[in-house]
């Protein structure tokens, strides 16, 4: 339950934060959420990772579909040197996921003295 709540909170708060703050506010959100909702390190990491994977993946997918992938075709060719919109979405998701995952992991160590040490992924 804590996991689901953290996950959803990170998704919602990240989205809201990014309306006003720079992109890396996702790290702050993930950090705060896992600091406030203590879980094992592994679960915390996963909560941040999956949250942003879903959020950034979902957002980029939604934007790109509405755009008929016009931009994603061009930008994937530019950045990834191959014409593959879905790969660009995957890279986008992974970047958000990694940053939020590590931030969440960091947050989990702020309060989890009593948690049994769970293995870091």
């Amino acid at each position: 339950m804590k996991f689901i709540v953290s996950l959803i909170l990170i998704i919602l708060l990240s989205f809201c934060a990014c309306l006003y703050l720079p992109w890396w506010s996702i790290a702050i959100v993930a950090f705060i959420v896992t600091a406030l909702i203590p879980q094992g390190a592994g679960k915390s990491f996963l909560a941040g990772f999956i949250a942003l994977f879903l959020l950034w993946g979902g957002l980029s997918y939604w934007i790109s579909v509405n755009n008929h992938h016009l931009l994603a075709h061009r930008v994937s060719l530019l950045i990834l040197k191959m014409d593959n919109p879905y790969l660009l979405m995957l890279v986008t998701s992974l970047i958000g996921a990694l940053v939020a995952g590590f931030a969440a992991l960091t947050g989990s160590f702020l309060r989890n003295r009593k948690q049994p040490a769970s293995r870091v992924l």
């Binding site: 989205f15 990014c18 309306l19 720079p22 992109w23 890396w24 790290a27 950090f31 390190a41 959020l55 950034w56 957002l59 980029s60 934007i63 790109s64 509405n66 755009n67 008929h68 016009l70 931009l71 994603a72 061009r74 930008v75 060719l77 530019l78 950045i79 660009l88 890279v91 986008t92 970047i95 958000g96 990694l98 940053v99 590590f102 931030a103 992991l105 960091t106 160590f109 702020l110 309060r111 989890n112 003295r113 870091v120």
Partner: protein, 816 residues
């Protein structure tokens, strides 16, 4: 709290963020770029994007409605004329901001600031920025702006336009920035009237910035004067000038005097100059023509224009209708400048081709010493002015370039700057017409308002630089063309070579009086036309200088003479005609001189293709590829031995020069290869050229690119040369010397046809799209239509047609 892992992972997270927010490790700040709420995803415009908007601004005095049609062409309806310029600025910025700023940064010599000093191994600092700083682009723009702002109407127009651009810039945030800013990592700055002036100077550089003074000075020193005149003639046999041969010109208002010392200090002076100039594209040119009602089916004049310029995305052009109580104009506008540039209004239509005059000359300056503080002029030491150019460089300290200014203009080339690797210890000041005060914006404004020939002829008097063949046609039946500009009155070959700069005797002695500029109004032949050929024959009393390709003009005039009962559709066919009239003249020389007896079977196969070719540079033509390669190869065989005698920069002779020489004189002395003991003949050269050409042609054949369009490979490149944002491998024919002058990355940048019937019937297309956003479906909408030689009907909307199904969105602008 577990302090060790906390710190460890905090550091890892921070490092991740820093890496993804910068270019320290990765080539780009990928986190920032790919964040769906900030980065490039935000530039992915929804396919059903709604452009409807209701906006309020304090700068407006009345109401402005903008209707965006299904091609994203804005139709602006303003209650007050100056409000229209505010909205034009806003709309230009909304769709083309990055391009507007990039072009003006380029003009101002500021590309290093955003790109860095070296890109892809090429020095942006030396080849672009210092080049433009030393040419005095900003200096020229400042002078122009001062002149333009003396005119209250122009000043108000520019002020409102600038305010409109800035109103849009003010509405941007990190997410809504154009994608190029995100990719290159910088922010737009405020627009200014100076930026508009800089943009127009960029066009002046492109169109009136060409000269070959250093190359010709070197050639003069290497070749005998007879040889020099043969390979660099000032007139062509095949010339069919803009003003027909035989026209009688009035006695010149200015009598130019050749300096007394010219034979020794100029014509006969031997010098070597290693300077390599960055030149505007040599293919910059255009076609335009207008036919009178007696040659058209409708009885109304038809005007056509297609300016040949570099093809870029976003395009140089942006289509627009501007309707105010004082005028109603439609056409191609320049993002960066107010008004309609090439277009038409309710009474008349106007278009331009480049006049090609040489208005950029160099003078050798004698400084007292290396400090450059004083130079010798008219028997005294004169004080130099200095302009310190501060060039900002991305991630590096500023570069300071101190440029000396003389009575002639800036000393462009010296020890510290010569464009080449070899040393140069001389000083060359540039006298460029674009440095003189003028207000070209006034011309466009008056043309947009013009109702008749008189209005037009008053308007074009404001065009000083770049000189253009200003074409006009009116609903009252008038057609006209003026080879207009403020042109220096030159003596024979003045300014072809570097001139002595120690006194005033070699300076331009005056400007050709405007009324003496070549022109034609309602000629009997029923048409006026220009295609960058010489405007006049040799009886014109002034020397023009410059390079003038004769062939497109020759063919256009032939066609227009033949044509009658012309419809706009006939004009579309003509404007996209791939017939190669140069090949019509050159191929017989090739075919008659290739020695068939020494060709192998493979060579014979390509000979047959050349022989059977229909002289059209069509998309699938193999003959065009064989011809072009054979001709290029012949030029190399004939000229290379003589021109390779030196490492100095020389000018490659024009194709008309070689063709006319070998047609006239089969014993043309340059046919001999000076590096062989025997004497080569025309047949030897042509046969060798053909055999060499076959080598290239065969490779193309093997690679499957023998068909002309594949071989030529026309593309429209993104302004920042990003291939992913470009359109490559376009199936379009044409090329050099065809009316459809589509070269590899250069060609008809806006095709327009206007039939001046009571209800104007107009067609147009440009290789781009209205939106500059690569993430918009309007980014490259017109490219395929353009390549296919098709047109869009240009809709001059009336505001009462608001509910027409072509109107998709409405933007309203109101006074706040």
């Amino acid at each position: 709290m577990r302090i060790v892992p906390l710190i460890v992972f905090a550091v890892i997270t921070t490092a991740l963020v820093v890496i993804l927010n910068s270019s320290l490790v990765l080539p780009a700040p990928l986190g920032k770029l790919l964040s769906p709420q900030h980065g490039v995803w935000q530039n992915a415009e929804p396919a059903d994007q709604d452009f409807t908007a209701n906006l309020k601004f304090p700068q407006l005095t009345g109401k402005v409605n903008v209707y965006l049609d299904d091609r994203l062409v804005p139709h602006i309806f303003a209650e007050q004329e100056n409000d229209a310029y505010f909205v034009q600025g806003y709309i230009h910025a909304k769709f083309r901001l990055w391009q507007m700023e990039f072009q003006t940064h380029a003009a101002a010599g500021r590309l290093s600031e955003i790109l860095g000093d070296v890109v892809g191994g090429s020095s942006v600092l030396e080849k672009a920025d210092r080049q433009f700083r030393r040419l005095g682009m900003t200096y020229a723009a400042e002078i122009s702006l001062k002149e333009a702002e003396k005119d209250p109407a122009t000043k108000a127009e520019c002020d409102q336009y600038t305010a409109g651009v800035n109103a849009y810039i003010g509405s941007l945030n990190e997410s809504s920035l154009p994608i190029e800013y995100k990719l290159l990592g910088y922010q737009p700055e405020k627009w200014t009237n100076l930026k508009t002036a800089l943009f127009l100077k960029y066009m002046s550089f492109d169109l009136a910035g060409h000269d070959d003074d250093f190359e010709l000075s070197n050639a003069k020193s290497i070749f005998t004067s007879a040889d020099f005149d043969k390979i660099y003639p000032t007139i062509m046999d095949s010339l069919d000038p803009i003003v027909p041969k035989g026209t009688v010109y009035p006695k010149p208002g200015i009598q130019v005097k050749i300096p007394a010392t010219a034979d020794s200090l100029y014509y006969g002076k031997k010098e070597i100059i290693p300077i390599i100039e960055q030149k505007p594209n040599k293919d910059n040119g255009s076609n335009n023509w207008a036919v009178s009602g007696k040659k058209t089916k409708s009885g109304a004049p038809i005007l056509c224009n297609d300016p040949h310029l570099g093809l870029n995305l976003p395009s140089l052009w942006f289509e627009m209708q501007i309707s105010t109580p004082t005028f109603n104009a439609y056409g191609a506008t320049f993002p960066g400048s107010p008004g309609v540039i090439i277009g038409f209004n309710d009474s008349c239509a106007f278009g331009f081709t480049n006049a090609m005059r040489d208005v950029r000359d160099y003078y050798e300056i004698k400084f007292k010493d290396d400090s450059r503080k004083e130079y010798w002029f008219n028997n005294e030491w004169k004080k130099t002015d200095f302009r310190v150019e501060v060039i900002r460089i991305k991630n590096k300290p500023d570069y300071l370039d101190t440029v000396a200014y003389t009575v002639f203009g800036p000393v462009m080339y010296d020890k510290s700057f010569n464009g080449s690797r070899s040393t140069n210890d001389k000083y060359y000041a540039v006298r460029w017409k674009a440095h003189d005060a003028s207000n070209e914006l006034k011309m466009f404004n008056l043309l947009d308002h013009a109702k008749n020939y008189n209005d037009y002829s008053e308007a074009i008097k404001y065009l000083h630089t770049p000189g253009q063949n200003c074409l006009f046609a009116c609903k009252n039946g008038d057609i006209a063309i003026w080879d207009q500009g403020e042109f220096p009155a030159k003596w024979k070959r003045q300014g072809d070579f570097v001139m002595p700069g120690t006194d005033s005797s070699y300076m331009w002695q005056g400007m050709i009086p405007q009324e003496e500029n070549p022109h034609q109004v309602n000629p009997d032949r029923g048409f006026v036309s220009s295609a960058n050929q010489l405007p006049v024959d040799s009886t014109y009393p002034y020397y023009l200088g410059g390079s003038y390709p004769p062939y497109r003009g020759f063919y256009i005039n032939r066609k227009l003479n033949e044509m009658n009962n012309i419809t706009p559709q006939d004009m579309q066919t003509l404007q996209t005609d791939n017939y190669n009239v140069f090949a019509e003249m050159a191929r017989p020389v090739l075919l008659n001189n290739i020695d068939l007896s020494i060709l192998n079977n493979e060579e014979k196969k390509y000979f047959d293709i050349l022989q059977a070719w229909d002289l059209r540079n069509d998309v699938n033509s193999k003959g065009a590829t064989v011809f072009v390669n054979t001709w290029d190869s012949l030029e190399n065989v004939v000229w290379n031995d003589e021109l390779a005698r030196t490492n100095l920069p020389l000018m490659w002779p024009h194709e008309s020069t070689l063709l006319e020489n070998i047609i006239k004189d089969s014993a043309f002395s340059f046919l001999d290869n000076i590096n062989t003991p025997q004497k080569e003949t025309l047949a030897d050269d042509v046969t060798m050229a053909f055999k060499r050409a076959v080598f290239t042609v065969k490779n193309a054949d093997v690679a499957g690119t023998l068909e002309w369009a594949k071989y030529k490979d026309t593309k429209v490149l993104h302004l920042a040369r990003i291939p992913a944002f470009s359109r490559l491998h376009l199936p379009i024919g044409g090329g050099n010397n065809t009316i459809n002058a589509a070269n590899a990355q250069h060609g008809p940048s806006w095709r327009m046809i206007v039939s001046l019937t009571p209800q104007t019937e107009a067609y147009g297309v440009y290789p781009g799209g209205q939106s500059g956003n690569p993430g918009s479906r309007f980014y490259d909408t017109f490219v395929d239509t353009w390549a296919a030689g098709k047109y869009y009907a240009l809709w001059v909307m009336k505001e009462s047609e608001e509910n027409d199904k072509r109107v998709l969105w409405k933007m309203t602008f109101n006074k706040m």
